[in-house]
């Protein structure tokens, strides 16, 4: 019990510290007290710039991290597979491709981007499920299928962008995951859908806990296994789709964070889901802040940093399997 409380406290403190650090570091610098004072006064020019440029970026990073990590927890529960991650198994790239594809032909549907991304993610998720179902969702098989699906959608997206580069340049933002120039409009998208998804995920914690039982056992308790899987997977896809729309494809977060979270707070989803959300928010915020300060003024995207940490981590997990 104490380990859980300590873990929660540490993550919350680190979150606050990194949020303040992220807000006060970069081309415009501010001291901590100066920042706190400026927060409550109007007309500070530096503060206005931070408000317009950095705050949206920080909020987007926090929500994208939380959404992707929780999406990972849900996918791992639904697929009974500790290696599932929206980025690695192609759900994010499916979301990115479908959204890009449809918007290019029907730019008028721009306001529906999150819905389109959701459809793409759901399609990719269904493909992975269908193709690895026969093997009893064996962890390695599922990852292999997922990597293939991911490669396919990433390839399609890249091909589409190079073919239609002149057609519509504004959409190319979806493929990289640079968090620069996020606006308050992006914030409202990710906060709205992200909050809905995160609350829904938490509401499903007891279902996630029951999915640790084998299907036949869960069924014998009268648990609607198929329906539960479908609903949990839908929430997972929603969470990853909305982060793709606003922050682009970031892989490995959903793999790394839940894994560490389980070590710290255990396997009970009632505790695991909120903790994962906080830890995921922290990780992406830190990755993004490091990325934009380490070799400033050049920016290293958060997704690149995650890939550098995440790749070896996946190998580590595979060796343990």
């Amino acid at each position: 019990m104490t380990k859980k409380i300590v873990s929660f406290s540490i993550v919350i403190v680190l979150l606050l510290v990194s949020a303040v650090y992220a807000a006060t570091t970069g081309s415009i610098k501010m001291g901590f007290f100066e920042f706190i004072a400026a927060l409550f006064e109007d007309g500070n020019n530096q503060m206005e710039a931070i408000r317009d440029l950095r705050f949206p970026r920080i909020i987007v990073a926090l929500f994208a991290g939380a959404a992707l990590s929780v999406s990972g927890v849900l996918l791992q529960s639904v697929m009974r597979n500790p290696l599932a991650d929206a980025g690695v198994i192609g759900i994010s790239s499916g979301a990115a491709f479908v959204q890009l594809f449809i918007i290019s032909f029907f730019p008028a549907l721009f306001f529906m981007t999150p819905v389109l991304a959701f459809i793409g993610g759901a399609f990719a998720c269904a493909l992975v499920f269908a193709l690895s179902w026969k093997s009893g969702l064996s962890p390695l098989k599922l990852i292999l299928v997922g990597i293939a699906i991911n490669a396919m959608f990433t390839g399609l997206t890249e091909a589409f962008i190079s073919l239609g580069g002149s057609l519509n340049t504004s959409v190319s933002g979806v493929i990289g995951s640079n968090l620069t120039m996020r606006t308050w409009k992006d914030v409202s998208t990710i906060v709205t859908y992200g909050t809905v998804g995160l609350i829904a995920a938490f509401a499903l914690f007891s279902w996630c806990n029951l999915l640790v039982l084998q299907d036949k056992t869960a069924k014998s308790l009268g648990f609607p296994v198929a329906r539960a899987r479908l609903i949990i997977a839908a929430v997972a896809v929603l969470l990853s789709a909305v982060s793709v729309v606003v922050a682009g494809v970031i892989s490995f977060v959903g793999l790394l964070v839940p894994h560490i979270a389980r070590r710290l707070v255990g396997h009970d989803h009632k505790v695991l889901i909120p903790f994962t959300a906080l830890a995921g928010a922290l990780l992406i915020l830190v990755a993004d802040t490091i990325g934009r300060t380490i070799v400033a003024p050049i920016e290293v995207p958060a997704s690149t940093i995650m890939a550098i940490i995440g790749g070896p981590f996946l190998i580590f997990l595979l060796r343990k399997e």
């Binding site: 640790v212 039982l213 069924k219 308790l221």
Partner: protein
Amino acid sequence: MDIQNIIVSHDNTRNHLDGVSTMIQKGKITTIIGPNGCGKSTLLSVLSRNNTPKSGNVSLENKDLLHYKSKEFAKKLAIVYQQNEIPKDLTIEKLVSFGRLPYQTILKRNHEEDTKAIEWALACTNLLEKRNTDLEALSGGERQRVWIAMALAQQSEILCLDEPTTYLDIFYQIELLELVKALNKEHGFTIVMVLHDINQAIRYSDQIILMKAGQIVAEGAPREVITREVIKEVYGVESIFHEDKQLGFYMVPLGI
């Protein structure tokens, strides 16, 4: 439970259950035995709705099994499978509490009754002291008892067990069968189980269903069903039978 002309085929080339009809008597211990691949576990999975027959039907209290809602059915019948994956980081009590699922809805939950049922299930299976132990730390015999405790928390009338003694050493086998017997005698559970050991079946059952190649060969009280000729026919094994005041009726296999 009334079973009418059940046909099941897993692959549509041959019938794994080929026209099985029988009655499971309320309040009795019924044991299904037979050689490997005879369809005994398949029959159990039809009774527990884990397998839907191609034709035929099973009725429970004059209602077709398939017409029960899943939670309603889980209150009538609980099943313990032969092999269960052990979830990580889960205590005995937590797992047993899953057995209360049929009584819970998102909005409604009777904590008092749940606690009572869980306590009772833990007490029956002698797990009260270990309730906070992690499943991974348990021995094979204890694990099997935990799954039974979960099924007991369902407070069903019928309890099905699929080869509950396989993979257990003789001590745990006897302990488990004595538990099953007590559940039947003291708590009135109707028991349907699949066993491999013929002598255990004889000793612990009121009714035996003997199967071969998807069909029922013989059924009834152990003394009537198990004979030298039938064992030869079904298993291809020569045996002698003996009756003894101390040991009761038992079989000794001689050879093939």
